[in-house]
């Protein structure tokens, strides 16, 4: 997926707020592209533009896939009146036989076996987020967009979910665009990391060569982490 010259601004309290300013970037379509940036830098805005939930002011999003995206929002956004199973199959098409097979496979993949008849209110936060992941996968998307899906989870659950995401990615062979503000998460997951700051893509790192699971205390990882922090903080100094 390639993004060219993408701009988006909002009117906030009577003033124009430029969130994305002629953003150019390219994702790794087989791997996990992580967009990393501080809170409020426009990550959610970027995903909403890609998911066509909002129109861009300018620029284009080029992509060769079939156009089928799976979106996982910052919150699970499950339908409270449907069971976990029906939620997972929400966008899965009509064929009953196929749906049943799909449900079984996805329940196993996301570790929700035995909970297909539970309502969202009866699931924990992590389980809801896994159901949302399964729901996105059930529509057979070519590409997954994930907006800080694990930000609301505690450390241990988050680690667990990251592991599961890597597992899903390996089995399903789908490209993933993952948005986060956590450097650790970016380093643990990304095959490519893009730093979004001030409305543009400031820097990119290629991590294809590093196998999973990654040791974040490894020398290279520490070096990359330092470099990322420097890039984000350096801009902070120049703008101040």
């Amino acid at each position: 997926m390639e993004i060219r010259n993408l701009s988006k601004s909002y009117q906030v309290a009577g003033r124009r707020l430029d969130v994305l300013k002629h953003l150019n970037m390219k994702t790794d379509d087989r791997g996990i592209t992580v967009v990393l940036g501080r809170s409020g830098c426009g990550k959610t805005t970027l995903l909403r533009l890609i998911a066509r939930l909002e129109p861009a002011d300018e620029g284009e999003i080029l992509w060769e896939g079939s156009g089928k995206l799976g979106v996982i929002f910052q919150e699970p956004r499950l339908m409270p009146w449907l069971t976990a199973g029906d939620n997972i199959l929400f966008g899965a098409g009509r064929k009953e036989q196929e749906k049943q097979e799909k449900l079984e496979r996805l329940l196993k993949l996301t570790g929700l076996e035995g909970f297909e008849d539970a309502y969202p209110a009866q699931l924990s936060g992590g389980m809801q987020q896994r159901a949302a992941l399964a729901r996105a996968l059930a529509s057979d998307p070519d590409y997954l967009l994930m907006d800080e899906p694990f930000a609301a989870l505690d450390y241990f659950t988050r680690r667990q979910m990251q592991k599961e995401l890597l597992e899903v990615w390996r089995k399903e062979q789908k490209g993933v665009l993952f948005v986060t503000h956590s450097i650790e998460e970016a380093l643990a997951l990304g095959t490519k990391i893009l730093i979004l700051d001030g409305g543009v893509c400031r820097k990119e790192y290629d991590l294809t060569g590093y196998p999973y699971p990654r040791d974040l205390l490894d020398g290279d990882m520490i070096a990359i982490r330092k470099d990322i922090i420097e890039h984000i903080e350096e801009r902070e100094e120049t703008t101040l």
Binding site: A51, R52, L53, K68, L69, G70, V71, F73, E75, R77, M79, P80, W81, F90, G91, Y119, P120, A121, S139
Partner: protein, 247 residues
């Protein structure tokens, strides 16, 4: 079950007070008949079928009026969501009508439609439309935007989003509206039947009063209350069914 027991105790106490009041002799038994008398005339009316006949007639009116009002409220509520521009035209009129008690229109209705079924059904429609419309509208309009975006992401059309997201979001409000609306219709029909009718529970009461049969009046009142409570209870169960996921 405990609750049931307490209710039974309360009813027994009430009956005892009633019996005592009768025995005190302050009121003549024509004005305040003893519980046993009321029970026996209730039984008599059940046995000869008059009670059932009047209940069915009132119920039929309520169901027709309520059905029409529900249909209209559903249409207007849907329009408020789908065509908000249109609502600007009729919104103020509805707001005005909402504050006019339907019984106050009965004089005009009788002039226009006579004392037949039509004017009674119109009264019920007027009485139950507004609580239903306001709740249904609220349900449709306040459907969760975040859930709607999920529908957009899965490529659902506007109509599919309406059926699969907006309607389920609105169902609790719709049911609450129906429950309130049914209560309003039931009250309105009794009022209308007491003003102009030759049948129905309201007429039964009025007729009994004119014949100085206060035992029958009280029996009629009890019937109205019981039928009202039963209808409400049915709706409450429906609502709980739907909201079972919430706990």
């Amino acid at each position: 079950m405990k609750r049931f027991g307490k209710t039974a105790v309360g009813i027994c106490l009430l009956l005892a007070v009633w019996q005592l009041a009768v025995m005190s002799g302050i009121w003549s038994t024509y004005v305040l008949p003893p519980p046993a008398k009321v029970a026996s005339s209730l039984l008599a009316m059940m046995r000869d079928g008059t009670l059932w006949k009047h209940i069915l007639i009132s119920m039929r009116r309520v169901l027709i009026g309520f059905g029409i009002a529900f249909g209209l409220a559903l249409l207007c509520g849907m329009a408020a969501r789908g065509l908000p521009r249109l609502e600007e035209y009729y919104g103020s009129f509805l707001e005005f009508m909402r504050h006019v008690p339907p019984i106050s229109l009965i004089a005009l209705l009788i002039l226009w439609f006579g004392i037949g079924e039509t004017s009674k059904i119109i009264i019920i429609v007027l009485a139950s439309f507004f609580p239903m419309y306001l709740n249904i509208r609220q349900g449709f309009v306040s459907a969760d935007r975040k859930l709607l975006e999920v529908g957009t992401v899965f490529g659902l059309s506007r109509w599919q989003r309406f059926c699969r997201i907006v309607v389920p979001c609105a169902i609790p409000d719709i049911l609450v509206g129906m429950r309130i609306g049914l209560g309003y219709s039931w009250r309105a029909i009794i009022g209308a039947e007491m003003i102009a009718a030759a049948s129905g529970l309201g007429y039964l009461i009025l007729d009994a009063q004119q014949m100085s049969r206060s035992d029958r009046v009280i029996a009629g009142i009890l019937t109205i209350g019981v039928v009202g409570v039963l209808c409400d209870w049915l709706f409450r169960i429906l609502i709980q069914r739907w909201q079972r996921y919430g706990d």
